[in-house]
Amino acid sequence: MSLLEITDLSIDYLTERGTLRAVDCVSLSVERGESVGIAGESGCGKTTLGLAVPLLLAPNATVATGSITLDGTSLVGLSEKAMDPMRWTKVAFVFQGAMNALNPVHRIDHQILEAITTHEPGIDVGAARARVLHLLDAVGIAPARASSYPHEFSGGMRQRAMIAMSLACRPRLLIADEPTTALDVISQAQILSLLNNLRHAEGLSLILISHDLAAIKRVCDRVVVMYAGIIVESGSTASIFGTSGAAPSAAHPYTQALISAHPNLHGTRVLAEGLSGHPPDLSQTMIGCRFADRCPMVMEVCHKVAPTLVTIAPGHVAACHLVSGEAS
């Protein structure tokens, strides 16, 4: 049984301009110990999808259809009372800009300790303190600096502290939303290495939400590419992005555009084409493929019929008429 099973999930936002479907019939599963990346640009719905799992959606968002099952428990429709104990202990979420969410008037070790004692009420304080130091050590923060205040830490170190806090109650699944934006490139690499090491050391399952394909490539086994609320492609990172040995086998034109937009310093020095235009308005009904307006390889059928996800190779699916044409 998968650790996390999302089936046909749709999430609507109620805005001044009407109902907006931010996530449309998305299915995704994460096995134990697996790391899955959700790739996409702003407005594709990846953050909404990530927030849905720990039921942290905004008040004007509702789950319209579908189910989320975490370790056998169905989450959609659970009350706050039922969901709360599972947050931090079963699934933890590191928000975008989480490093700024630390309480500036409390010391770092105190805040992590508080997280532990709040969610594990009966725990022995000594044991909890030991765990705090162990966690900080695991993220590369020396015991001497554990009692610092957040403002005494750099951005990178605060992010490490946030990761430590998110792991405080030993969750099975960690969802990290853009954990490295707003950090220096060197610090970004450090955080990603950290996540990788933690994954292997603790057997953690990880969902990494990011627009940075390089980050996903480094940390994730599988990747799910989202565009305008739907999944357009999904498969192993090795096959979709390629490795030093193999070329990328991304099938969807959007995935290909994303990949070419990240210059490969080992390849030829060429400027990518890029994509003109912008994603469609999700509050309007969309006919045909959502990417059709911007697709460099658009065909007649794309404007009329929305493509469905078809299997291209074992474990690799894409929603594109180019592909289903070949497959059929």
Binding site: Y13, T15, L20, A22, S42, G43, G45, T47, T48, A58, N60, G97, H278, P279, P280, D281, L282
Partner: protein
């Protein structure tokens, strides 16, 4: 525009909202709408009243039987202790109250916004000097000042307006200054300066239009406060005794013993009038301020 809620940069103030959007958000806000309706009713009454009902301006009561009488067919709001028609006094008084309020607010806004703009834009030593100057006016007490000025120059609407304006502008200056201080950090200012624009151009063509909505919001609140201040001063007898405002009416009513004899038609109308006008502007001002602050907006 196909933007999802999570795409707007977090914490960015929505400056540059156009007039129409401002009006729309005002109308959609329950309190803002209530303010607009209240104000519209009050303004309509005092605006159209004297046009519709032609009154003899100084028709005093002819017999003692017509003094301090309750509402009747002839006098809708009854009569004063001098036999005057309270309704007429009410209509005129409203205009006077509004006049003083508007004049005081104009003084306050022009001084306050002007100073706030210059102080916030230049920052540095000019800001320090201007802010200390502002502090001086901030601590000026309204009451003693008006008493002194009234003793020197007599009690009239102009003096009252001036005093209220001079003691209200520091608040405006501070609010506008803080918004300007944050606006000047925007890449917009750097960009326009790098194009070669002079300070005056940046201040008046770029920063001022972007703080204009805030100035309007503040204007409504200052107007509300000015009307109330004028009413209070008039009630204390420091207003213009000839140009009767609502506050003066209350003052006269009090002196005529209307409260103790129960001549409610004399003091309820001006009292309600003051409340309605003050509340109307305050609700509008608060609603506009909320519309401009996205963090407060989220709480609506």
């Amino acid at each position: 525009m196909s933007q999802l809620p999570d795409v707007t940069p977090p914490g960015e103030p929505v400056v540059g909202v156009r007039q129409r959007e401002l009006w729309r958000s005002l109308w959609h806000d329950k309190m803002g709408r209530a303010g607009v309706i209240t104000l519209a009713v009050v303004l309509l009454i005092i605006g159209l009243g004297p046009v519709i009902f032609a009154f003899n301006p100084s028709a005093f009561g002819t017999s003692s039987g017509s003094l301090l009488q309750g509402p009747s067919r002839a006098d809708w709001f009854g009569t004063t202790e001098l036999g005057q028609n309270v309704f007429r006094e009410f209509l005129v008084g409203g205009r006077i109250s509004l006049y003083v309020g508007v004049l005081a607010t104009l003084i306050a806004i022009v001084l306050g916004a002007g100073l706030g703009l210059v102080s916030g834009y230049y920052a540095g030593w000019r800001d320090t000097v201007l802010m200390r100057f502002t502090d001086f006016f901030l601590v000026l007490p309204t009451l003693p000042l008006i008493i002194v000025l009234a003793a020197l120059f007599g009690q009239n609407l102009l003096i009252t307006s001036l005093v209220i304006g001079l003691t209200s502008w520091p608040q405006t200056a501070r609010i506008i200054r803080s918004q300007v201080l944050s606006l000047r950090e925007r890449p917009l200012v750097q960009r326009v300066r790098s194009l070669g624009a002079k300070d005056s151009r940046i201040m008046f063509a770029h920063i001022l239009p972007n703080v204009a909505p805030l100035i309007f919001a503040n204007l409504a609140l200052v107007l509300s406060g000015s009307i109330l201040a004028q009413a209070a001063l008039a009630f204390l007898g420091l207003g213009d005794p000839v140009q009767v405002s609502w506050g003066t009416m209350l003052h006269n009513a009090f002196n005529a013993g209307a409260m103790s004899t129960g001549a409610w038609w004399y003091f309820i109308p001006p009292g309600l009038g003051i409340v309605a006008m003050t509340l109307g502007f305050a609700l509008i001002g608060n609603s506009l301020e909320r519309a401009l602050n996205p963090r407060l907006k989220a709480q609506r």
